[in-house]
Symmetry: none
Subunit: 236 residues, 2 copies
Amino acid sequence: MSDPTILIVDDEPAIRDMIGITLDLAGFNSMSAETAHQAHVAIVDSRPDLILLDWMLPGGSGIELARRLKRDELTSTLPIIMLTAKTSEDNKVQGLDVGVDDYVTKPFSPRELVARIKAVLRRSNGSTQDKVIRVFDLQLDPSSHRVTIEDNPVDMGPTEFKLLKFFMSHQEKVFSRDHIQDQVWGGNVYLEERTIDVHIRRLRKALSSIEPTSINYARLIQTVRGAGYRFSVKPA
Amino acid sequence: MSDPTILIVDDEPAIRDMIGITLDLAGFNSMSAETAHQAHVAIVDSRPDLILLDWMLPGGSGIELARRLKRDELTSTLPIIMLTAKTSEDNKVQGLDVGVDDYVTKPFSPRELVARIKAVLRRSNGSTQDKVIRVFDLQLDPSSHRVTIEDNPVDMGPTEFKLLKFFMSHQEKVFSRDHIQDQVWGGNVYLEERTIDVHIRRLRKALSSIEPTSINYARLIQTVRGAGYRFSVKPA
DNA sequence: TACTCTTGTCACACCACTGTAATATTATAT
DNA sequence: ATATAATATTACAGTGGTGTGACAAGAGTA
């Protein structure tokens, strides 16, 4: 659930930097490559979520790279957005023919670029099986973003929601604070370790806020001393 | 209701042109795409009312595109008519299996094509598009473009109407601002994120303008902090 | 042309949420 | 039992997400 990584492939440093800054501001991670070969290495190594690919690259055109990526089964689903200075319809048709997912002509506004990236990512991520997770009478519905106990809505903040979702989809397993931080907050944030405890506390409090007819759902969030936390239906 | 827009997806230019002319004469707007990818982009960007889809696209992706569109909730109601040169029953069965709305075998007469398009449009308009959506005493009638609360007309702008229509036909589900923008404004418009908030505000205001005897319908438009908005009959 | 309605954007205010530190409590070891 | 480490709890200030009113440009109309 961490920020998507975008690979920028362009031979002009100025453009790479400009786009990089734009993407950073928009909350993406960005990396860049200068040549098609570099790009290929980076793709295999770092598995970015999307590629911004310049149409004209020295030594092996961008379109050739796009074609290769779309042909290879391992990378064929990797979304590609083509960048080009040309505006003729021919290129557009040809580029889309290769299987490119979208197409942005230079010069473009940062806003447009970000919007198209988000749109493409949404399309490729689309229809993720957001199944309702249920434990006894505790329900978490990702699509409606609701938590209910015996059909009473439970109020909690976004972080507690993500935390609970993570726990409910990984039950009966202990996670260290570091691990929880990676999964819930994402890889590139530094948190004080105790911060996790506070959010655990808030989550437990939220789960206790509904007076339950049977069990106290806060008990499902179990402390494992020296190891971390665990979501479990069995008593500690 | 302006003229319906038909998207023609076929790899042969001659056929695209022929159909395009036919449709123009019949009073439709037409646009065309050569590949499944182009088609997908065009669908997201321009939201056509019906798709004429060639069975055999290079890469055999015609049926694949149909399947994808029918699988995605947001495009699943988009009517599709399959075009094919083959006459075998097998294909027919397979095509309808995917959920395609009708099926025309080449060669076909322009008159037949137009007749089938009208038939499918009539069917889909009648059933999904123009059906009155009702939640308690809040009614939205797409065909007359009116919203009423307890039979009192509610005054709102076109954008708020589209927004409400989208929400009422996708209840109990959270949509991010980006998502709402895609669905209500279309794919190739770039808005400031906060603009959505303002329209939400206007919609809520409109829904509150009628003094309700029972509930305040503005409450159905719920804010989900950090996630987006949701139309829900359950309390937040 | 002048007028109205609609639309997108901005600026400001507000408050829920977040992260941290400080303190209290509990569990384990000696 | 006491000390010590680990966790629970509380309080608080800063931040960021959202609500809201105002405004100017555009679309449509008389």
